[in-house]
Amino acid sequence: MLRPMNIEALDAGTTRRWGVLVVEDDSRARSFFEASVQRSPRLFWLGSAGTVQEALNWLAQTATIPDVLLVDLGMPDGSGLDVIREAVARFPGCEPLVISVFGDEENVLSSIEAGAVGYIHKDAAPEDIAQTIVEMKAGASPISPMIARRVLAKYRSLQLAGAPAATPEAAVDSTAPSLLSSREHEVLTLIARGFSYAEIARLKGLSVHTVQTHIKNLYGKLAVHSKSEAVFEATRLGLLSHPG
């Protein structure tokens, strides 16, 4: 009954089953996720890891490519971000989701930049967990208004930084204008103002699916962008400390 907002239509066109790996140090949460996955006919359980090291070992040795990775960020021996980076690098088809209690901006944004394509709330109902995963595989990407606001703020700051310095050495600046298309910008602005995907689709005369695709593309851009941005640590820090 509880599910992230903005996930509406479900495209059940494919009957393929998705393999799920869970990285979570809390054993009760692990079994909760396992139960959720086992219960869904569209998903199958690949296994779980309780530490970063365990997860990295699993990724190094697995014969089955994980379709979906559920990652808790706060692990006893490190950050789940490392697992996300490693999984994305090793298996480009793997789509990581972050397990978040609060869905708060800092953690979600850094996960997206590491390569995650969304997040699930830890307090979501078991059936909603499975549903979120399946919807994500079908093209949906949840995004909160707070995160949308942050992405817009980042876009603005990159534009400002890029405008005066029209020099080729600023790789980040040269990618900034292409970070958001004008349509993506519109969609993001409406999300930041609290509108749902359906409302946006109605307002802009788009399908819900198109809106979702815009968002998912955006996630990819943020991840790619964050890589080139690693060189420009200062900008990243500027973003992270930005009040918006």
Binding site: M1, M5, D104, S144, M146, R150, I191, A192, G194, E199
Partner: protein
């Protein structure tokens, strides 16, 4: 050409026969006229008029015979080291040269510079010749006639005359120039080095002034040696020159007085009066001597003066020995030498019969000037070093103050940071107390009572988690951004509305930022809206919830509207009214079955 021809003639003459040697004329007769009385007597040169006639003016006619073996072929000349005050030179009755007008006294004085008179060749003859020199003597003006040398132009002119001239005339010019330079430097320093720090206005360095005055007096006194025709009659000029001499001595003493720092010692300050008396007394005594034509007035006074100066120099020397430094030692040495020379000059010029002598003080005064210049320059250097020191000290103080300010600022910043942390801590505690804490405790009560359904328990816990999420969201909400606040609220609460089967209508315009909502105000507004929506969820049995935001005449208005059963709007729920008061918004309530509106206005 003419000169070359002359040289050739001279050279030929010298080659023709052994050089004729110059003849020094020492004896003759003199016919004097003093006060109308004429008297003829043999004379032995030098002839010191003032000694012979006790300072009374008059005329003297010297007849100086000499014998030549043959008429000289080379050019001859007469060298007179000193004669005056005005004079005429005749040879064998022919007037060779007149210096000044014998009919007028107390005017020019040609005794100051040595004289050379060329002799036309035909005037000299073999056998007896006669040189006549007629002088007019002013009172106490060192009139008279020195020994006279006659002979071939070489060496009389080139050796005797020119070296004497260089010593007397050129020496005076150089000494004057030196004194003027030293005095000028001292005066410039005195004019520009103003001690503005002294209480009661500006104070100049006295030592520079006295140095300047001493050197200017001396320059004038020495310049007299080259001024044959003074602008004043001899009486006034003589007094002025004596005054300059005394002014130099007195100023030099005042310089020593400052150098010894007696100006700061009350026991020594009386010394200024006798120093002033030296000048006043000299002017008085020289006036007496010149107008009464009795030179002993000045001679006597000068003796007194020398005694006083000797005492003063002695005192200064003692002070120097007690507290020596380079400047004082230098000046003390110069003062002692000058004192010695001054005494010698007094004896020779004022008392002895020696004629043609020049003063020695004029040379020792150079040492004095050099010492004075050195001290003045050292003082100036010390003052500039001190000034630089002050500048450095000042810069250091400014830097020190800057450091203090920086540390004060850092301390204030630290306090501000601590305060911000304290506020943040207080806020988190308050949130925990009002939110999670109260929800968990009511969940515990519900569990303990055993009467609550699991739905109720779940709702309590969900409320708790939702409020926690809202708290986290609020950390990043830009102050005053009501649109962002509403969007976050919708994101957090919509799952519960959906679960309760309530349709959400979103009619939120883009609204301007509400300036007076700070972070705390945003928190309170968030809770206020949460409360209103919570009420709809729990009590209203509504099918639709509508959130509106718009700007009416520049004022942001928010409305939470439901179509539930309504409530008695005259009893405003306390949770709502209290938070509205904290936020500072106008709370409007209207409720009837099917339409309940909670309105918040930011006017």
């Amino acid at each position: 050409m003419w000169l070359a021809a002359l040289l050739m003639v001279v050279g030929a003459a010298a080659a023709a026969e052994p050089a004729e040697s110059p003849i020094e004329l020492r004896r003759g007769t003199v016919t004097t006229t003093v006060g109308g009385v004429t008297h003829t007597a043999p004379a032995e040169l030098s002839y010191h008029w003032d000694r012979q006639h006790a300072g009374r003016p008059g005329f003297a006619d010297f007849e100086l015979p000499f014998t030549l073996e043959a008429e000289p072929e080379a050019a001859w000349g007469i060298f007179i080291p000193r004669a005056g005050n005005v004079l005429e030179v005749r040879l064998n009755e022919a007037l060779l040269q007149a210096y000044g007008d014998l009919a007028r006294g107390n005017g020019p004085d040609y005794a100051k510079a040595p004289i050379y008179v060329p002799v036309p060749g035909h005037l000299l003859k073999a056998g007896d010749n006669r040189l006549q020199i007629r002088i007019r003597a002013d009172s106490a003006r060192r009139a008279g006639l020195s020994r006279v040398t006659i002979g071939p132009a070489t060496p009389v002119r080139t050796e005797l005359f020119e070296s004497a001239y260089a010593w007397r005339f050129t020496g005076s010019v150089l000494l004057t120039a030196f004194s003027l330079v030293v005095g000028g430097i001292a005066l410039a320093l005195w004019l520009t080095q103003v001690d503005a720090g002294a209480v009661g206005g500006q104070r100049r360095e006295g030592i520079y002034f006295w140095a300047a005055l001493a050197e200017f007096c001396w320059a004038l006194r020495v310049a007299d040696g080259v001024i044959a025709e003074p602008p004043l009659p001899w009486g006034a000029w003589g007094v002025l020159m004596a005054g300059c001499y005394a002014g130099w001595a007195a100023s030099a003493m005042m310089f020593c007085y400052h150098l010894a720092e007696w100006d700061g010692a009350p026991r020594m300050r009386w010394l200024r009066w006798p120093v002033a008396a030296v000048v006043a007394g000299t002017i008085a005594a020289s006036s007496m001597a010149l107008y009464r034509e009795e030179p002993y007035w000045l001679t006597g006074w000068l003796a007194l003066e020398i005694v006083f100066v000797a005492l003063f120099v002695g005192a200064f020397a003692v002070a120097t020995v007690r507290q020596p430094n380079v400047g004082r030692l230098l000046v003390a040495a110069a003062a002692l030498v000058t004192l010695g020379f001054g005494t010698r000059d007094w004896l020779v010029i004022r008392l002895s019969d020696a004629y043609g002598e020049t003063t020695w003080v004029r040379y020792s005064s150079v040492f004095f000037g050099i010492a004075l210049l050195l001290i003045v320059l050292r003082r100036f250097r010390a003052a500039s070093i001190e000034a630089r020191g002050w500048v450095a000290t000042l810069a250091e103080r400014v830097a020190q103050r800057e450091r203090e300010l920086a540390s004060t600022f850092a301390a204030l910043e630290q306090v501000a940071r601590d305060q911000a942390r304290t506020h943040e801590r207080e806020r988190i505690l308050r949130d925990m107390h009002d939110g999670v804490g109260s929800h968990i405790s009511s969940a515990i009560r519900q569990l303990q009572s055993g009467q609550a359904s699991s739905d109720e328990l779940l709702r309590t816990l969900r409320d708790s988690l939702d409020k926690l999420k809202l708290s986290i969201d609020s950390i990043h909400l830009p102050p005053g951004d009501v649109g962002a606040l509403l969007a976050a609220l919708r994101y957090r609460l919509e799952p519960r509305l959906a679960a309760a089967g309530i349709e959400l209508q979103w009619a939120v315009d883009e609204v301007p930022a509400v300036k007076r909502l700070d972070a705390q105000g945003m928190r309170q507004l968030q809770f206020l809206l949460f409360e209103a929506i919570s009420n709809v969820l729990q009590h209203a049995h509504a099918r639709t919830l509508r959130i509106e935001a718009e700007t009416v005449a520049g004022a942001v208005q928010l409305r939470v509207i439901d179509d539930g059963r309504g409530f008695d709007a005259s009893h405003v729920p306390r949770a709502l009214s209290e938070r509205a008061a904290t936020v500072g918004t106008q709370l409007g309530l209207e409720s009837r079955p099917g339409r309940t509106v909670v309105q918040l206005g930011f006017g």
